[in-house]
């Protein structure tokens, strides 16, 4: 077990790689009552085609399968995992994103038992054709819920315009039609390929003794047999550099029009350091543009184009990346025109050094604040880990960022790679 102390933030992390390939990270938090465990696998909605373990040919699975599997993992041979957590006084949950699935518990008691239960229920699949069929009704209601959510629709509308083939364009839960195609055989293949310990990571933070908890985890893993796993082969997405569609709109029963402008970013850096540098540069630059102290935000607000709901987001996961500008606006077309003008101007923009330094301090302060919440720590640590980045390197990465790094990302704002998606109200309001 390796111990690393990070003096800037005064936290210690313990790491050990189990003999089956599972990486375990423990971060005790003095004084905390809760313990939070997060068990993640590199399997998300974009893992649509791959070579199943032990086979030779690439298969394509129905959209929404990672999310479906997440729901079904809670079925255990002798009961239901969430019921067992509840009996231990803990709560449990799971979520699926584009590139990962994660299972979690949150507890104030029985940390050892909860950690073992988390490992045990995820490391065994118990499904039957009947239980699979039954789940479809629940998942279809979940899909229905997202279909009524204009923010969710706007986001997926915008990114599905950006990509021709890349499965990031598809809803994480799939559609009612693709969910109908999911069966026993497909779930088995996905599970055995992506839930091997060497493709997963366990992070636990909160109130425990790290030596003791690590030995519990080690013993638990040593009792189980996993075959050695060759590296996973995923099918290529053959995504062209261009965007699929520059414009689309949709009518929904909403009161406020919703605007989403998205820019596709090709060539995601291969090295984690470069990836991180690009991400943090974007964070700082977008704050320079749109923080509450910015002239631009002030101007757009006074023109009535934007309000508090306006935000920007930079995504970079595995092999895709994009920027989003989104918000409610009573003048959606004018807002789109302003964002377009901005995108054209950005590559030639002069950067304000003082604003850069202020936003750097601002972002570092926010990062320190994240360490107050064990849920946030676990979520960020795992998210960065799966991209090959150590969360604690963010402090140094922010410090060493210069205005030249910001200049480097400006050419990525490109009108040819920009798409708009507008949701308009069915009926005219106010």
């Amino acid at each position: 077990m390796k111990k690393t102390y990070y003096p800037t933030i005064k936290e210690t992390v313990y790491h050990e790689k189990m003999s089956n390939g599972l990486n375990v990270y423990l971060m005790p938090k003095d004084g905390f009552t809760k313990t939070y465990g997060l068990f993640s696998t590199r399997f998300g909605s974009i893992d649509r085609s791959f070579i199943p373990l032990g086979e030779t040919d690439c298969i394509t699975v129905p959209d929404g399968v990672a999310h479906f599997l997440e729901h079904k993992m809670f079925d255990m041979e002798d009961g239901d995992a969430s019921e067992k957590f509840a009996a231990l006084g803990a709560s449990s949950n799971a979520f699926t994103s584009h590139s990962r699935t994660a299972y979690l518990f949150n507890t104030a008691t029985n940390v050892d038992e909860c950690t073992e239960l988390l490992l045990d229920f995820v490391q065994e699949l118990n499904v039957t054709p009947d239980s699979i069929e039954k789940e479809k009704g629940i998942i279809n209601q979940e899909i229905g819920m997202y279909n009524d959510d204009p923010d969710w629709r706007g986001y997926f509308g915008a990114i599905s315009n950006l990509y021709h083939n890349h499965p990031v364009r598809i809803d994480i839960a799939g559609t009612v039609e693709t969910v109908a195609e999911i069966d026993y055989d497909i779930l088995q293949k996905c599970y055995h390929t992506f839930y091997h310990p060497s493709n997963m990571m366990l992070f636990v933070t909160g109130n425990f003794d790290p030596e003791h908890l690590m030995s519990i985890i080690r013993d638990n893993q040593d009792k189980k047999n996993f075959k050695d796993m060759p590296p996973i082969v995923r099918g290529a997405h053959n995504e062209p550099e261009t965007i699929c569609k520059a414009y689309e709109e949709n009518m929904m029963d909403v009161t406020m029009p919703k605007v989403n402008v998205a820019i596709k970013i090709n060539n995601v850096p291969a090295s984690p350091e470069e990836k991180l540098k690009r991400q943090l540069s974007f964070y700082i630059f977008m704050d320079m543009l749109f923080s509450k102290s910015s002239d631009l935000r002030d101007e757009w607000t006074k023109k009535g184009l934007i309000n508090d709901s306006f935000f920007t987001n930079f995504s970079q996961e595995r092999d895709f990346s994009h920027i989003i500008f989104a918000g409610d606006s009573p003048m959606p077309d004018e807002l789109v025109a302003h964002i377009h003008q901005l995108i054209e101007d950005i590559p030639h923009m002069t950067l304000d050094e003082e604003a850069f330094n202020r936003m750097k301090r601002n972002n570092i302060g926010t990062l320190i604040g994240f360490f107050n919440s064990i849920e946030t720590i676990a979520s960020l640590f795992s998210q960065y880990y799966l991209e090959g980045i150590n969360l604690f390197d963010l402090f140094e990465a922010y410090q060493s960022l210069t205005i030249a790094d910001i200049k480097n990302i400006l050419p990525l704002f490109c009108m040819d790679l920009t798409s708009n998606f507008i949701i308009r109200p069915l009926k005219q309001n106010v």
Binding site: D30, G31, N140, Q141, M145, S293, R358, I368, N372, N429
Partner: protein, 430 residues
């Protein structure tokens, strides 16, 4: 340490905890919750964080905060029973984690004092342009809130159930009342708030008692001269018939919300039992409604019951397919009847109690949750600690839960559904 000091015009609550990396100050104003004042108070709260005499513009103020390593300043509007609450919150990284050597807490207190005691009022009015902007922003916010369909359905149910009483009021205010508000009337609203509201200041972080002198010297408020405003109460109405409302929108998933008179509130002796009952019925993944409506019958993804101890009501909400309206209502009714008849196992009672006890333990790990717990206790003049609340839960018996199940009364059923259902069921009945 958790100590209360009577200061000049307010109560100061110091909650010391070494585990947090920042210091949170929350200032809370509690006034009367009336239709006449709510919209104006809502605008005022959001207007006040846009400028002070020393930093008149939003840009000025935001720059000051960004220079403090991303210190955060926010306003929030809410209600608790008959009380209307304006909250200002300021969080700042503890200087221990920063490469600087100055007392940031003094700066935080000065900022709060400036914000609350020296708002940007010149010649008897707030800034005209900012007033206009904030009125517009809150108008948009109210409109955008309507686009969250579950939230909208919930608000509609409460509108119907609480019509003409404080229960039926929206804490963010009303679009149609905006016209009566201007830069001058807001000064009256401000004067009333600062003079007459009940005022509490909470500080959470790595602090000690010595900071009381900082507050003594730098933060004073006018002393309210009346008895504290009322908050918690037991909702009652004159109506004897069940209200059954169906409304239509162009949506995929229908939303069912049911409102019950709880006939008890946080001031009642059986409030802990009511909380146990509501959670046993539909508060978490092992609850009756989740298990029966979702897991056994696959009718929904989301179903939840919740007890509002400030208004003395209980609500049940679910997202379902429109064709399952009758079946869902019937299943919910059956579960309540089952509990009324006393069919409760020792295991399920123990499990829900453990869940509630652990949820209370976890309060201690989150500054916002700590403040919120203390606040909800302080506004009803209770001295109960987390342990006292946990003890109350422990002592709830099966008979107490049965009595709660028997005492609730279904008051309003609200169903937001797609056009087809509306036309088939409602129009044909009329």
């Amino acid at each position: 340490m958790n100590k209360i000091y009577q200061m000049n015009g307010y109560q100061l609550h110091l909650i010391s905890s070494k585990k947090f990396k920042d210091i949170t100050i929350s200032v809370r104003f509690k006034g009367r919750f009336t239709r006449e004042t709510v919209t104006s108070r809502s605008v005022l709260g959001f207007l006040m964080i846009t400028g002070t005499m020393k930093h008149p513009t939003q840009k000025d103020l935001s720059r000051t905060l960004e220079d403090l390593y991303g210190a955060n300043l926010s306003a929030n509007i809410s209600s608790a029973g008959k009380g209307h609450i304006i909250t200002f919150k300021n969080t700042c990284v503890n200087q221990e984690f920063l490469p600087i050597d100055e007392n940031l807490l003094i700066k935080q207190v000065d900022l709060i004092n400036e914000l609350v005691n020296h708002p940007y009022i010149v010649d008897g009015h707030f800034d005209e342009e900012m007033t206009k902007l904030k009125k517009q922003e809150i108008t948009y916010r109210i409109m955008a809130d309507m686009d969250d369909k579950m939230g909208y359905a919930f608000d509609r149910m409460v509108d119907y159930m609480g019509k003409g009483s404080v229960l039926g009021l929206r804490s963010t205010g009303y679009i149609e009342d905006m016209d009566n508000i201007n830069a001058y009337t807001l000064v009256e609203t401000y004067t009333d708030m600062i003079q007459n509201d009940d005022k509490h200041v909470y500080v959470v972080g790595d602090i000690d008692e010595s900071i009381v002198s900082i507050f003594e010297e730098r933060l004073q408020f006018p002393q309210a001269t009346h008895e504290p405003y009322p908050t918690a109460y037991i909702y009652q109405n004159e109506r004897i018939h069940l209200l059954d409302v169906i409304e239509k929108q162009d949506i995929v998933q229908s939303k069912l919300v049911m409102g019950y008179k709880a006939n008890c509130c946080t001031l009642s002796e059986n409030t802990a039992a009511m909380s146990v009952f509501s959670n046993l019925l539909g508060g978490y993944s092992q609850s009756r409604l989740f298990q029966v409506v979702r897991e056994k019958n696959s009718l929904c993804y989301f179903i939840h019951s919740s007890y509002d101890p400030m208004n003395g009501i209980m609500t049940i909400a679910a997202g379902i397919d429109m064709n399952n309206y009758d079946q869902t209502k019937e299943l919910i009714g059956k579960q309540i009847k089952d509990l009324q008849e006393g069919h409760i196992t020792d295991e399920e009672l123990a499990m829900v109690k453990t869940m509630l006890i652990n949820a209370l333990s976890k309060v201690d790990d989150d500054p916002d949750a700590i403040i919120s717990f203390n606040w909800r206790r302080d506004i009803i003049d209770s001295q109960d600690t987390i342990e006292d609340k946990q003890n109350a839960i422990i002592h709830v018996t099966k008979e107490d839960v049965i009595r709660c199940a028997q005492s609730i009364e279904l008051d309003t059923i609200y169903f937001l559904t797609g056009k087809e259902f509306y036309e088939e069921n409602l129009l044909s009945n009329n």
